[in-house]
Point group: none
C-alpha cells in the first residue's frame, strides 16, 4: 500500500510577516502523523487570489489530503472562500444549519446578527459542512481528482476542534490508513558526531530504516518512525530501535516528549527527595526550570544565586582561602558551594555551578565556557569539569542540563 501524504496550507498575512508563529501547522502535522498521514509540505501564503489558486493547484497534484487554515473569518479582507468556490467550480448557497448555529452562538454571547455573520452561512454547494462548535465559520470538506481538501478557520481552538471531532473521523471513514510505530530517544551528554560514530555499525546494518538525529543545545534526540503493515518489517524495526537503545542507554534520559527537568522532578518526587541549588554559572536557570513544573514545591526547597564572591563566602560558606588560592571557578569552589547550599536548605540533594559564561571574564588559564559542576546526594558527592562553547545563553542552558543530569545519574547510580 502506498503511503498517503498530506499537505498543509496556512493562509494569513500575520503568519507570513512573522508576528504570529505558525503553531497550527505543527499541531496539524502531529495529528496527521498519528493517524498515518505524514505531512510532506507546509506552505504559508498571503490571503490573495493568485497565491491561493497556485497553492491549491500544486497541492492537488501531489497530496492525498490538503488541510487549509485561515482566511475563513468574517471580515471582507478574507477572500479565501470566493477563491475556493472558483477552484471547485461550486457557487455559494445558504446553509440553514450553519445560519441557526451562528444565530445561537451570537445570542449566547449577547450579540445581534450582523451582515458579516450572515455571510458565514454561505458555503460552496459541493462542500460537506464540518460543524464548528466554538466559532461562527464552519469547516468545509471538498474533493477534487481524488484529493480531499479541508478548510478551517485559523483560530487555534476552532482548528483543533475541527481536526479532532470532524476531520480525523472523516478521513478514517474514507481512507485506508496504515499502521504507525514511532519512538523518541532523548539523549544528553554526548555530541551528535560522537553519537553518530557510536551507532555507525547499527545504522549500516539497518540502513532500510531512516533515523533522524535532532541536535539540541542540551543533547540529541533520536527519532524513529515506521509506517508499515508488514509484520516482518515491524519486527526488524523493533530490533533496530532496541539495538540503538542498548548502545546509547547511559545517555538516554527519557523516551517521552518531555524535558530533563520534568524527568528529574518526577524522580525526586517518586523517591521523596528534596533538592536545592547554588547557582553562579547558571544564574538562576536551574531554579527557573524546576519551578516551571507544577507541584515542584513538593521537592524544590529553593536555591542561592551567588554571583559575587562575597555571597559565595557569606551565604554558602565557601572559604576565603579557596577563592584566594584557586579563584571562584574551580572544582573546590563548586564542592564547597554544593555543601553550603545543601546545608542551608537542609535538602537530600543539591547541585552547584560555577564558571565563565562569557563573553568576558576569561583569564589566561580559564577560557570562556569553562564550568565546574558539583552534585550531592546524601553524603555522596561528585564534581566534574566542563568545556562549553562561547555563547553565554547556550552555556547557561548546557550548564543547567549537565547539573540536572549529573544528579539524575547519581540518584539512579548510572556511571
Amino acid at each position: 500500500m502506498k503511503t498517503k501524504l498530506a499537505e498543509i496550507i496556512s493562509i494569513g498575512n500575520e503568519v507570513l510577516a512573522g508576528h504570529t508563529i505558525n503553531t497550527n501547522a505543527a499541531y496539524i502535522s502531529q495529528q496527521m502523523s498519528a493517524i498515518g498521514l505524514p505531512v510532506y509540505w507546509v506552505t504559508t501564503i498571503s490571503d490573495t487570489h493568485d497565491e491561493i489558486l497556485f497553492a491549491l493547484n500544486t497541492a492537488n497534484t501531489r497530496a492525498d489530503v490538503v488541510l487549509v487554515t485561515g482566511g475563513l473569518g468574517p471580515t471582507p479582507d478574507d477572500i479565501t472562500k470566493a477563491t475556493v468556490c472558483e477552484y471547485f467550480n461550486s457557487p455559494l448557497i445558504q446553509n440553514k444549519n450553519v445560519l441557526n448555529h451562528v444565530q445561537n452562538l451570537l445570542k449566547n454571547r449577547g450579540l445581534s446578527l450582523l451582515d458579516t455573520n450572515m455571510a458565514q452561512a454561505l458555503v460552496p454547494d459541493k462542500a460537506d459542512i464540518l460543524h464548528n462548535p466554538v466559532g461562527t465559520a464552519p469547516g468545509l470538506a471538498l474533493e477534487n481528482k481524488g484529493t480531499y481538501f479541508f478548510f478551517m478557520p485559523g483560530v487555534p481552538i476552532e482548528m483543533k476542534r475541527l481536526i479532532n471531532e470532524q476531520i480525523i473521523p472523516y478521513l478514517q471513514k474514507r481512507l485506508n490508513l496504515p499502521a504507525i510505530r514511532s519512538y523518541l530517544l532523548r539523549t544528553t551528554g554526548i555530541a551528535e558526531s560522537r553519537l553518530f560514530e557510536l551507532l555507525k555499525d547499527i545504522l549500516k546494518e539497518y540502513s532500510q530504516f531512516p533515523l533522524a538525529f535532532l541536535p539540541r543545545h542540551i543533547g540529541v534526540d533520536l527519532r524513529f518512525r515506521l509506517i508499515s503493515d508488514n509484520k516482518d518489517e515491524q519486527q526488524k524495526f523493533e530490533s533496530f530501535v532496541d539495538a540503538v537503545r542498548n548502545k546509547t542507554l547511559k545517555y538516554i534520559f527519557t523516551e517521552e516528549n518531555v524535558e530533563l527537568e520534568q524527568i528529574l522532578g518526577q524522580l525526586l518526587k517518586d523517591r521523596k527527595l528534596t533538592f536545592s541549588c547554588a547557582e553562579s554559572f547558571t544564574g538562576g536557570l536551574i531554579g527557573d526550570l524546576l519551578t516551571n513544573i507544577p507541584g515542584s514545591s513538593d521537592y524544590f526547597m529553593g536555591g542561592m544565586i551567588t554571583y559575587s564572591n562575597a555571597s559565595k563566602m557569606n551565604l554558602l560558606g565557601v572559604k576565603q582561602k579557596t577563592l584566594e588560592t584557586y579563584g571562584a571557578v574551580n572544582s573546590e569552589t563548586a564542592l564547597e558551594m554544593v555543601r553550603g547550599v545543601q546545608q542551608a536548605f537542609a535538602t537530600d540533594c543539591a547541585v552547584a555551578t560555577t564558571g565563565i559564561a562569557g563573553p568576558a571574564g576569561a583569564t589566561e588559564t580559564k577560557p570562556v565556557g569553562l564550568c565546574y559542576i558539583a552534585a550531592r546526594y546524601g553524603n555522596e558527592e561528585v564534581e566534574k569539569e566542563f568545556h562549553f562553547g562561547r555563547d553565554r545563553i547556550i552555556n547557561k542552558r548546557r550548564g543547567a542540563m549537565a547539573a540536572m543530569e549529573m544528579l539524575r545519574r547519581m540518584i539512579l547510580k548510572i556511571h
Copy 2:
C-alpha cells in the same frame, strides 16, 4: 520601484512532523520586513532530493531572495548540500577557512576532528561562504537568474547570527531596497484594550497609517512602519509616532528591540547600583533573565530562591509571625523578603516576589495568579498586589516583568 519579495524554505522532517515549531521562519520574516523585503511565501519540506529541487525551482520563478534553513548538519540524513550542488551545477570543493574554523571550534571544546566534521568544510565551488561563528556548518550564498539564494543551518542561534552579520549586509550591498521608517514602542503595565481606548482619537486622526498592536504576555508592542520615499508622508508619519509616544510615555520601557532586563541592567550599570532578588513566585527567573546579559556581574550580586517557608525565615529573616498571621502570599511577606535579600547581599536595590503561580495552591481567599511584589531602592520601598492569569509559566514571566518594571520606575521616579 517594484517591491522585491522574499521566500523562506524550511527544510527538515522535524518541522514538517510538527515536533519543532517553525520559529525560524517568523524570525527571518521580521528581519527581512525590516529591510524592506517582505516575505510572500514560506515553504516547509522534507530533506529529500525531489522536494528540495521543486522548492528551489518554484522559488526561483517568483522570489528575488530565497532564504533556506536546515539540512546543513554533519549527519548523512542531510542531503541538502548535494541537491544544492546539483541545482546550481556547482561541485563541492574543500574550503580551507571553513576547515580551520571547524578545527578551532572543536579544539576549544576539547574534541578531535571526525570525518563527519571534515565534510562540513566541503562547499559548492560557486558559493560565497558566510562565516558562522557559532557552529561548524557555514552559510552559503548563491545566485541564479537574478535571484539570490542563502542556505543556513536550522539551529536558531546560528541562523540568527548569519542573518544579521552576513546576509543583511550582503543584500543591502547588492539590492536597491526602498526607504523604510519603522518604530517600536514597547509598553508594559497596560492592557491592550485600555491602550486602544487611550489612543482612539489619535488613530482616527492618522487613519492613513496602520499601527500594529502586538500583545505579548508581558506587555503590548506598538509597531509602526512606513515604506515610502514621499517627504510629506514621512513627516506626517513622524507626527503620528510622536502623538502616540507622548500619550503612552509612562508605559514605554524601550523603543529598541530589547527586553526589559536589558533596560534595567543598563540603568543599574549607568547609575553604578547593585541589585539582588528574593524569588518565590518567579522561582529564579529574574536571576536567570538578568544573568543572560553579558557583564551583569557588574551589578547583579545574586539572589535567593526561597520556595519553602523555612528558607524564607532562615535565609531572609521573614518573621514566623508574619507567615502564621498572613501566610506566605501577602504584601508583608514580600516586604520582609525584599528587606532580607537587600541586607544579605548588601545591595543598593532589590526586588521580591511571592504568590500562587498555579495550577494548584489556591485557597478560598487566594486565587491562582495572585502575586505580591516588593522593591527597594536605598531605604525607599514599594509593594503592590497583582492578579495574573491561570498559566504557571506565563504567570512567572509576568511576575518577573512586573518586579523589574517596578524597580525601573522607582529608580527613574516615574509614577
